[in-house]
């Protein structure tokens, strides 16, 4: 399945010739074509007229052309989402600092969750609660504020707040991969961009997951 470089048979210079306006018959120069270039970076068509017309500023070696290959952005974004979240999973998780929010969001821009400057509502469920709530993640600067808000919202269900032991609860969230994650492992901004919904687990499932109160 892995294509060898020889399969490509592709050279910059020949492309230039192919698109050149000339009086000769097309194909007249094909015989001297067998190239030895490797697959990979073949972007530098220095004199190629098309290159100047590229809208997308080429960041580094590979100049991706706008709209090529012709796949609808709807499709493209679905897989960027999947592949970027997979790469995030392997990135080392930073120790989260309480009040600091200065961490920049990693990797490709996640399509849906990052709100367009407005708000970022996610559902919050709690085991045993009769209905769900929605919170706006953008309202909170960090995990502590978020936790306080959740406690205020939900602990009323467990009766007297004083009798509630926070370590009986674990706040988890579902990320883009659909995995259930413990809240608090990654920087808050990263959490905001990958959190799809939240779930407060309690009881035996929660014990031992560690009180994430930091």
């Amino acid at each position: 399945m892995a294509a060898t470089a020889m399969d490509y048979a592709h050279v910059d210079v020949e492309n230039l010739k192919a698109t050149e306006l000339r009086l000769g018959l097309p194909g007249a120069e094909e015989t001297d074509k067998m190239p030895t270039s490797r697959a990979g970076s073949k972007r530098a068509h220095a004199g190629d007229h098309h290159e100047e017309e590229l809208k997308a500023a080429p960041p580094a070696a590979k100049a991706q052309v706008v709209g090529w290959p012709p796949v609808r952005s709807y499709r493209k974004s679905c897989f960027q989402q999947q592949s970027s979240s997979k790469s995030k999973a392997t990135a080392p998780a930073e120790v989260q600092k309480q009040e600091e929010v200065a961490v920049s969001v990693v990797a490709a821009a996640p399509p849906a969750a990052a709100g367009s400057g407005g708000s970022l509502f996610v559902k919050v469920s709690m085991d045993g609660a009769p209905y769900l709530r929605k919170i706006d993640l953008k309202m909170y600067k960090g995990y502590r504020e978020l936790r306080e808000a959740l406690e205020a919202m939900f602990l009323g269900f467990s009766g007297d707040a004083a009798s509630v032991n926070p370590s009986d609860f674990a706040v988890t969230y579902e990320d883009k991969d659909g995995d259930l994650m413990l809240v608090g492992d990654v920087p808050f901004e990263m959490f905001m961009s990958t959190c799809k919904r939240m779930r407060i687990m309690k009881g035996s499932e929660a014990r031992g997951l560690g009180s994430s109160k930091e």
Binding site: Y8, A18, T19, E20, L21, M34, L54, S73, R75, D177
Partner: protein, 644 residues
């Protein structure tokens, strides 16, 4: 996705069935015909004599004010009764040209209006001609807008149409829009203007949110079809739970497609909706639906024919996760009716065997959003003996395609999309897969194939093995890439396709191509209506070959090819026969485009620059979009569009 043409279950033929050939395209109405000329109210074929007009009210031929002779009532009734049987727009257009009374009768009885380019005719004109429309199909932006080649704000807003259709057609039942911008307010007009409204289909549209969907759900009490296909849905500030806005009583819903509306929603509301929609046959949900939830839906809707499975993944961390056999039970119960399966938007491959019970009955399967390996796909494919439509990612590999070739001898349509849509990607399918398909799927009619390696031999083989091909779209993702074995251009391959596939109407070319390829296309591509060209050709001769040879050409889209004004001008005599011509990043100048605009009054010539602030190269044209139109230059063009 579509049901196959010969299926006996009633398909809902809207634009939202991407598997179906764009049937609406066949019914295109060339507005340059005399019957639509407002000033050309010259005599019909009868010369000086003309039969009396049927109804003096509205519709009928524009331009001739004054009094009419009393209509021949009997003839009129007979005519209208006969014309009721004509449904295809092409037939209707022909009938309308016979004489004035036929024109008027046809205008009264046409029920569906198809407008392939929303700027080709003004809404007022359409409303004036047709009195009794029940359905309107509108297409807006040129197709290259899908690939970010048309700047934002270009146009194709539906508002002038909705404003005109509302007062004119209170009995309107169906609206289908493709590549148009539809706002929530415009959606809100629909239930207000059309109390009998039944079907809304939005394909590749943008501009609306869940707020607009909520108004539709709540207001259209007779809604049967709500199909949202590949629309651009932007994350909103406040997501409205539109699913719970459907009326509380039993609904008439037959089709509910919302896989592209990727926002959370109230699942219980959906379940209840499905339970009270006994006519529901098509349901495609978004990726916020888990397997457990899917099972509940399937239990509520045992007669589904089309199912979009949502994420196809278990609810995270739930204690009641379904087992594969549980899910298989659900599918077994659906096996009698299910023919079309799609979704798998975040698939967990472990659950795939659950669909085996339905595979034998499936005629259409869409895995194109499922990143699955060939090892995971092949067992599924092996069960799908009756498959006619198959959409998949290139992760299926050449081996997977071989399995398709061996199992799916009835296959009519294949689409292989790239997982990694970049030029340098590995590419998991090649000429090997194409060759295998051509040998196993002899009845193939439509193919879209993204790859990185291709040979002329394989393409020629397909042209010989699959003579029924109507649509051939091959995308070799590396630009200018030649035959991987011989190093030659791909001219011969595409030449064989146009020569041997005598029914071909749609062609997309790629790879290294010289003018020779286009000479072939012009010589043999006599039925081609749609041609897409990118990074191809040597000179303007290519364009000339196409214009002179492809007599049925309607839509031509070209990008990044060495064609200039000379090529453009070679099409002068043909532009009126076409719906549009798009050309970007070629070698056009403002002067050349201006020449065309000057000589062709019924053509709208739009030019756009990528960077309007560039002082240098003021004379070059980055994007050209020209189209015939009875409406003249549009008034809603944004700043970056210059209409010559």
């Amino acid at each position: 996705m579509s049901t196959p043409p010969s299926s006996s279950s009633a398909p809902i033929p809207t634009l939202a069935s991407p598997g179906m050939r764009d049937a609406a395209d066949d019914s295109d109405s060339p507005p340059s015909h005399m019957s639509e000329d407002s000033d050309g109210s010259g005599a019909g074929p009868g010369g000086d004599t003309w039969t009396p007009d049927l109804r003096g009210t509205n519709g009928g031929n524009g331009g001739n004010g004054g009094r009419w002779a009393p209509p021949d009532q009997v003839l009129e009734n007979v005519l209208e009764s006969v014309l009721e049987f004509l449904t295809a727009a092409r037939d209707r257009n022909a009938a309308s040209l016979v004489c004035r009374s036929w024109y008027a009768a046809e205008a009264q009885t046409r029920r569906e209006l198809f407008i392939g380019n929303c700027y080709a005719v003004s809404p007022a004109r359409a409303v004036q001609r047709f009195a009794g429309l029940r359905a309107v199909v509108l297409k807006g932006k040129p197709r290259f807008a899908d690939f970010s080649l048309v700047p934002n704000g270009w146009g194709a807003r539906v508002s002038p149409w909705v404003d005109a259709l509302g007062p004119a057609y209170p009995r309107l039942q169906r609206i289908c829009l493709k590549r148009m911008t539809v706002s929530d307010d415009e959606l809100a007009l629909i239930p207000r203007s059309f109390p009998l409204f039944r079907e809304l289909s939005l394909v590749c549209c943008d501009g609306f949110t869940t707020r607009g969907l909520a108004v539709i759900a709540e207001g259209c009490r007779h809604l049967r079809v709500l199909d949202l296909t590949e629309d651009y849905f932007h994350e909103e500030t406040e997501v409205v739970d539109w699913i719970s806005k459907f009326p509380e009583c039993n609904t008439s819903l037959e089709s509910l497609v919302f896989d592209c509306v990727s926002v959370p929603f109230n699942f219980e509301a959906l379940e209840a909706l499905v339970a009270r929609s006994p006519a529901l046959r098509r349901l495609r949900v978004n990726d916020h639906v888990s397997i457990e939830q899917l099972r509940r839906l399937m239990a509520r809707a045992p007669h589904l024919t089309h199912l979009g499975t949502g994420s196809f993944r278990s609810e995270p961390g739930s204690s009641g996760a379904s087992s594969v056999s549980d899910l298989a039970t659900s599918f077994a119960a659906a096996a009698k009716s299910l023919v079309c399966l799609s979704g798998f938007l975040d698939v967990n491959a472990e659950y795939l065997p659950a669909i085996y019970p339905v595979c034998a009955n499936l005629t259409s399967l869409n895995f194109s959003f499922a990143s699955l390996t060939s090892e995971e796909l092949i067992p599924v494919i092996n069960h799908c003996v009756n498959l006619r439509v198959f959409w998949v990612l290139d992760t299926v590999g050449d081996e997977g395609l071989r399995a398709v070739a061996e199992t799916c001898s009835d296959l009519r349509e294949l689409r292989v999309f790239p997982l990694d849509a970049t030029e340098d990607s590995e590419g998991s399918v090649s000429d090997v897969g194409l060759q295998a398909i051509s040998e196993g799927c002899r009845k193939l009619e439509s193919i879209l194939y993204f790859c990185q390696r291709m040979t002329n031999v394989a393409v020629i083989a397909m042209s010989e093995n699959c003579p029924d091909l109507v649509v051939f779209r091959l995308c070799i993702m590396g630009r200018h890439r030649p035959d991987r074995v011989t190093g030659e251009p791909m001219d011969e391959g595409f030449g064989a396709i146009v020569k041997n596939c005598k029914k071909l109407t749609r062609l997309s070319v790629s790879g290294l191509l010289t003018d020779k390829a286009f000479a072939y296309i012009g010589k043999y591509g006599k039925l081609i209506k749609t041609l897409s060209v990118a990074f191809a050709g040597n000179s303007d001769m290519s364009l000339q070959h196409v214009f002179e040879g492809c007599t049925k050409l309607q839509k031509l889209e070209v990008r990044d090819s060495p064609f200039g004004d000379k090529g453009l001008l070679s099409g002068m005599n043909y532009f009126y026969n076409m719906r549009f011509f798009w050309m970007n990043s070629c070698r056009l100048t403002v002067k050349g485009c201006g020449d065309v605009a000057q000589q062709m009054p019924n053509l709208v010539v739009e030019v756009m620059k990528d960077h309007p602030d560039d002082e240098g190269e003021v004379d070059t044209v980055d994007k050209l979009y020209l189209y015939r139109s009875l409406a003249g230059p549009r008034t809603d063009a944004p700043e970056f569009v210059n209409i010559l």
